[in-house]
């Protein structure tokens, strides 16, 4: 290579990493609390009305999706972007300044969002609860990220966009489109000049609103929990393992396939609802087809490790990433199964759905962000990772937590679904609704314990990261591939 080594600027990548850890602990802490509330309802009142389940659940989902995950995505963007484009943020005072404004505006907006949800300011649409002033801030933040992506692309030395870049670009475009359309609302104060200025009313009504919401909701999962996480694994797994990506053609097929197919699948949230039947069936079919591009990416990553499986034994970071990929496969098989109409009739509205969400988010998203940040840490601080043992212990603790979580939720969901439809010998319903709630107590308890184990793992992660930053042995130069770790 004729270019001199570029000196990358990790300032904002570091800030977003701190935030990912902070929001991870906050969001999942709330998650553990509400999980215990379902088993032990007295816990609803520990902070008066501010700790009621219904108040906290949206805070949990938003902080984890838009706090933890987005911070993780941006931490890696401000690291990976420079490296795959071979250009440093230092070369552009504008872009590096913008990155800092991006960070601070995001941080302030995230805090405002949590406060607004705590004080009942919500539109009620899942993952789109923010009222219109916050939506406008979100749009500004998003546009800043867009400028960052395309600005850096404009300055690039590496002409060909690496696979991770495809996925970051797709994340930017996909979320922009979905968020704008789903949050279309009319602020009532602007029309009438009275009432609460924060209040707005959706542009769409009833079934239409549901259709737009789940077109958004499902694809918010696509473009926040899937696409950018694939961007990460395509960079960090080959880098950490020192292995080239197994197949370029497979990555092409998976990328364009995912882009085309994913958006159709939103209809599977509306099976047996009042949206037209053809759309429900389309949702089902495309969800099944979605296995192809999803498994394409996952297998491409697993095959990248071909002949190098000993690394799985030696490196906890490889463990995290390989298991992330495996959980991605599990979750993208489970999703299509739940989208088949007869299964959906049983699974919809039950705990099997949160079970599915969590093997994806905890196993795939969480593990990938944890691994990415620990891979970056030695490069940020020019120190080796503080403790390999701790990282190993975290891995096993969290993996056990996830298994407990999803197995208990599968059992709970199927149990409840079966009980809702069970009839006695005369054809009357066999159970009243409350029977189907009390029976879940042991599973709710197990799930909460599984969540707690994952949560404890986050503290191990935070401690390890902090020690890596402050106390680990210093290294001379940036490690090329495998991250150095002290035993």
């Amino acid at each position: 290579m004729q270019n001199p080594a570029v000196e990358y600027d990790y300032t904002v990548a570091k800030w977003f990493s701190y935030l990912a850890i902070l929001f991870g602990i906050l969001g999942m802490g709330v998650g553990v609390l509400i999980a215990f509330q379902l088993a032990f309802p007295e816990l609803n009142y520990i902070f008066g009305q501010y700790s009621l389940f219904s108040r906290l659940r949206p805070i949990h989902t938003n902080v984890v999706a838009y706090g933890f995950t987005l911070s993780g995505i941006w931490a890696t963007w401000y690291y990976v972007g420079q490296r795959v484009l071979k250009v440093s943020l230092k070369e552009s005072p504008f872009l590096s300044g913008l990155a800092k404004v991006h960070f601070w505006l995001y941080f302030v907006t995230a805090l405002l969002a949590v406060v607004s949800l705590l004080f009942r300011v919500t539109t009620s649409k899942e993952y789109a609860q923010f009222e219109w002033p916050l939506d406008i801030l979100v749009v500004v933040i998003w546009v800043m990220w867009g400028i960052s992506i395309f600005g850096l692309i404009g300055l690039r030395r590496e002409k060909t966009l690496y696979i991770s870049m495809w996925y970051y670009i797709a994340t930017f475009l996909g979320v922009a489109m979905l968020y704008l359309f789903n949050n279309m609302a009319v602020p009532t104060y602007l029309v009438t000049g009275m009432g609460d200025p924060l209040h707005s009313v959706s542009m769409y009504a009833g079934s239409n609103d549901a259709l737009v919401q789940w077109w958004f909701g499902h694809n918010a999962v696509a473009f926040v929990f899937t696409v950018p996480i694939i961007a990460m694994i395509y960079y960090f797994l080959p880098k950490e393992s020192g292995q080239p990506v197994y197949s370029y053609k497979l990555s092409l097929l998976s990328f364009w396939g995912l882009m085309f197919v994913y958006l159709w699948a939103g209809g599977h949230h509306l099976i047996y609802s009042t949206v037209p039947d053809w759309m429900q069936t389309m949702g089902s079919i495309f969800s099944v087809i979605l296995i192809l591009p999803s498994w394409g990416s996952a297998l491409n990553m697993l095959l990248t490790m071909k002949g190098e499986w000993s690394q799985l034994k030696d490196s906890p970071l490889i463990k995290f990433m390989v298991l992330a990929s495996t959980f991605y496969m599990l979750s993208t098989l489970e999703g299509p199964i739940q989208s088949i109409k007869s299964v959906n009739a049983l699974a919809h509205f039950t705990d099997w759905i949160p079970g599915h969400v969590h093997d994806g988010t905890l196993g795939w998203v969480g593990f990938m962000i944890i691994a990415a940040i620990m891979h970056m840490a030695p490069r940020f601080f020019k120190r080796e990772i503080y403790s390999k043992k701790l990282l190993e212990a975290q891995f096993w603790l969290q993996t056990t937590g996830i298994v407990l979580y999803f197995s208990s939720m599968w059992i709970a969901g199927i149990t409840q679904g079966m009980m809702w439809r069970a009839v006695d010998q005369y054809g009357n319903l066999a159970y009243s609704f409350i029977d189907t709630v009390t029976v879940l107590h042991p599973y709710y308890t197990l799930r909460a314990i599984g969540g707690l184990m994952y949560f404890i793992g986050l503290f191990m992660w935070a401690y390890n990261f902090y020690k890596t930053m402050t106390a680990a042995r210093q290294i001379e130069e940036e490690p090329k591939f495998a991250s150095p770790m002290a035993a």
Binding site: P41, N44, Q49, L52, F53, S54, R55, R57, R120, T122, T123, S124, K125, E126, F150, I153, K159, T160, L161, W166, G174, M177, F181, T188, V191, T192, M194, G195, D196, H199, V201, S202, M203, Y204, A205, G206, S207, D209, L211, Q213, W215, L252, W256, F260, L263, W264, G266, H269, Y272, S273, T274, P276, F286, A345, H348, W420, R421, V423, F433, T438
Partner: protein
């Protein structure tokens, strides 16, 4: 072609956008006019009901309760007639929910009464032993924001032509009276207070009746007005 796109970010981005936007266009556009038509006779929410709906939203009742009865015998036996798209024509936003930690509420007005709701929201286990739902006592002291509910009704009337001040069922009378400007709020408030007083009395709770008589509608009363309307 793909190799070329990967060197030309602008066209790459355009390509990605077209591919992801495609499904939305096909799925959403054809059905929009159809699905937004109200079922014959469906009336818009009164200001009090709308205020109750806002309380339902504020406390995220939809996090645990659905409002969508699927066309299965096990559901129609439990909850009543399965849901029809035209019933939701005035629902902005929709409140179908995605998880039944508690039962469906789409027709709860058919089988629960005002006093049942009041008891239940004050202490769920008093009427449903074993319930894991928390109590919502703050709704008994918070005063309903009627002004915002009126603003919402006026907004949907103006912007989306929701049929307030119209004869919907053809009996020659206006079905849901609203008004045309913020100046009509006082009259709307008086109507809401009358509606609220009936419900407050049904709950058999002195404190709620007294609050309404003082011109303040507790949130729980508005919420019950909304729940009773769900039929």
């Amino acid at each position: 072609m793909f190799g070329w796109l990967e060197k030309n970010p602008f066209f790459f981005a355009v390509g990605v956008f077209v591919v992801i936007a495609f499904a939305g266009l096909i799925e959403i556009i054809p059905d929009f006019a159809q699905a937004s038509r109200p079922l014959v006779g469906t009336k818009p929410y009164s200001v009090l009901e709308l205020a109750g709906r806002q309380v339902y939203i504020k406390d995220s009742c939809n996090a645990c309760h659905s409002q969508l009865i699927r066309p299965f015998k096990s559901e129609t036996d439990r909850y009543g007639m399965y849901s029809l798209t035209g019933e939701y024509a005035y629902d902005r936003p929709f409140l179908w929910g995605s998880k039944r930690t508690g039962p469906d509420l789409h027709r709860v007005g058919n089988y629960r009464t005002s006093d049942w709701h009041a008891n239940h929201m004050w202490d769920p286990t008093s009427v449903v032993p074993g319930s894991i739902m928390p109590a919502y006592k703050h709704m008994f002291t918070n005063v309903t924001d009627l002004e915002t509910a009126f603003a919402e009704a006026l907004t949907v009337k103006k912007v989306f032509n929701v049929p307030y001040d119209k004869d919907i069922d053809g009996d020659g009378k206006i079905d849901v009276v609203l008004g045309d400007s913020p100046a009509d709020f006082e009259a709307a408030k008086q109507r809401a207070l009358q509606e609220a007083l009936v419900i407050a009395k049904e709950t058999k709770r002195e404190d709620l009746v007294n609050m309404v008589k003082e011109g303040k509608i507790p949130e729980i009363v508005a919420l019950i007005a909304y729940l009773n309307r769900l039929k």
